[in-house]
Symmetry: C2
């Protein structure tokens, strides 16, 4: 596990400015709210406003924001018994996980949708990004996200993955597609890249705009949730590596119209999924030829035994995650003769806007 | 809206016996828990046991069970600040929605998975059913549940549906399948039949056991959530009817290997989805030839103008929902010359075990 993302995660969802400013009263419901729910709200500056009905509660703290002595936003109770609060500073653009501490217990916001992160279904809020159009719900042809269930001998259970198939998939039974295996981070699961990441919408829009040739994306659970935070070094890659390389890849190649060839098979992952990508691509060089790490470490030239087996290395992170290390690593890889590309997401930290943007960039060069 | 399911819903999740009995201490985590969560638990008799960490809370009530003066199970605080409680009586087999009232506010159980019901993401718990094998996760070929997104001119937005495609779907591009359009109930959405209903597992097992020929199932949102409970009579079927018949059916017929013929197209729905089925099949007799209502009313012979256009009517409910009305209606339909079948789920009320079993029965006669 590398320092870049353990430290970066601590600062996820931090304010872009700690200085007080006039708060614009143009709050709207977050796009991640449950149907018909007004709260939580966000304004055009990135402030979040929260509301909780719990008339007999002693204390309600939202884990987002840095305003309170308790490390989040302390809500205050009005005469109507309703708790409200606004973050002390704007939040970064993009998606943030959060929950409430109510009377000393951990609870979700009844107004927000739930997203699996930190090994639990958390609440989620969205600060509209200035470049959100690349994952907008547009009137263009849409691909499908297919839940597949495959029996795993390695783990003796039924396992789940989601497979993005592009628009027009299946129309021509002869057509074969490249495949990207795309991993979530620690504490997340196979739902993350569609729900929080909008991977399918990013692909649909790229294809509609003629920016990429269609490919398939496979997202499965990386078995990272048995670990407590801070114990990453104890992670045993073997069970997941076997499930991925020896069970899931063969299942996908036999059930979908794939090009079953490592030249057209990529692996990518965010955060701890980047560590898994790093380990598995090096352990099993016969499986993938395109390696992508998003906010999850780097490759060093000397780690890769046979340069001719690697067609692309893509490494990215947010500008708030110490991007020098990413850029430096890619420089070294380029000097050593690798086809290596770096990308830095401006103004973002260890959060999903970094990874949505990374996928958008990565997809455009992945199978070229 | 008919009385059968409004009254039945009130008694959902009621105890099978109000008499006290010895509680067996064989509690196990509910199968619907979040990963690694011990609570909520259920025992072999159907008792539920709950646990909430909220040391400073004044009051914690679980909406399941009838033990407390507040209409649920009142939890009590231990010296460790942890609230615990056990239902005063066993619950029915199957799936139950619930939430907590904590200090006067509505919150989900941090230990349980979330299921969309009552117009919100609720907590869910599962009392193991004696016949649960028909939706078990077995080592058999599994079909996929495909999320599709289609642009709707009627509602000017991107809409979502889930499409179950059986194992082997797509292997033979010439093969065409019948299609069932399957609706959720009031307060639920397009995720209900897969998440709470296990429709895909029911189908996989039926197909693996050679009990049915494969067909496709399409599940979309019935637009029932804008209504407050008790205002069903204000529901305007038109927008949903147009989306379903004039947008979704054409989309599915053009994107999947369907038999695009009303002889091989069925509509079914549970509870308010049954009312939608009733209305739409009668309004648009050219669309469907097989009509199925699950705990959501009946058909009367005189409602159907042209008997020759209807190949099957299936009506079901739980034994605790007043099944005489369902049986009586089917008797009348049979006397009038319809191919009508009734089914009563033993020992269940207006809940998902009734509907899982109904799908299991219905699927075996649907396209025969």
């Amino acid at each position: 596990m590398n320092k870049i993302f353990t430290s970066a995660l601590m600062f996820a969802a931090m304010s872009v400015s700690a200085y007080a400013q006039d708060i614009k009263e143009d709050f709207k419901p977050s796009s991640k709210n449950q149907p018909g729910q007004e709260y939580p709200m966000v304004n055009s500056q990135g402030y979040g406003r929260f509301r909780v009905v719990a008339p007999d509660a002693k204390s309600v703290v939202c884990t987002l924001g840095l305003g309170g002595a308790k490390g989040g936003t302390e809500l205050t109770k009005g005469e109507d018994g309703v708790w409200t609060g606004t973050t002390a500073a704007p939040m970064d653009e993009g998606f943030h996980y959060y929950h409430y501490i109510i009377d000393g217990g951990v609870f979700n916001d009844p107004g927000a949708n739930n997203y699996f992160g930190s090994c639990r279904w958390e609440s989620g809020i969205e600060i509209p990004a200035h470049d959100a159009e690349f994952y907008a719900e547009r009137d263009v042809p849409h691909g499908n996200v297919q839940q597949i269930l495959f029996w795993s001998k390695e783990t003796n259970c039924l396992r789940r993955a989601f497979v993005y198939t592009p628009p027009m998939y299946g129309k021509d039974p002869q057509k074969k597609y490249p495949v990207l295996y795309l991993q979530h981070g620690w504490g997340e699961d196979e739902t993350a890249w569609s729900n929080q990441g909008h991977a399918n919408l990013i692909m649909d829009n790229l294809i509609a705009d003629g920016k990429i040739e269609p490919f398939i994306i496979v997202m499965t659970y990386g078995m990272t949730n048995e670990l407590k935070w801070g114990h990453m070094h104890e992670f045993d890659i073997k069970p997941f590596q076997t499930v991925l390389c020896d069970e899931l890849v063969p299942y996908v190649d036999s059930h979908f119209q794939t090009i079953a060839d490592k030249k057209y098979r990529a692996m990518a992952g965010l955060s701890m999924g980047g560590m898994e990508t790093h380990t598995i691509t090096l352990n099993r060089p016969e499986m993938f030829s395109r390696y992508c790490i998003l906010s999850g470490g780097i490759y060093k030239p000397e780690e890769i035994k046979d340069k001719s087996q690697v067609d692309l290395i893509f490494i990215s992170c947010g500008s708030k995650e110490g991007p020098e290390r990413v850029k430096g690593a890619v420089d070294e890889l380029q000097k050593a003769g690798f086809n290596a590309v770096s990308y830095v997401s401006e103004g973002t930290a260890h959060e999903f806007l970094t990874w949505r943007r990374s996928l958008y960039q990565m997809a455009q060069i992945l199978f070229k």
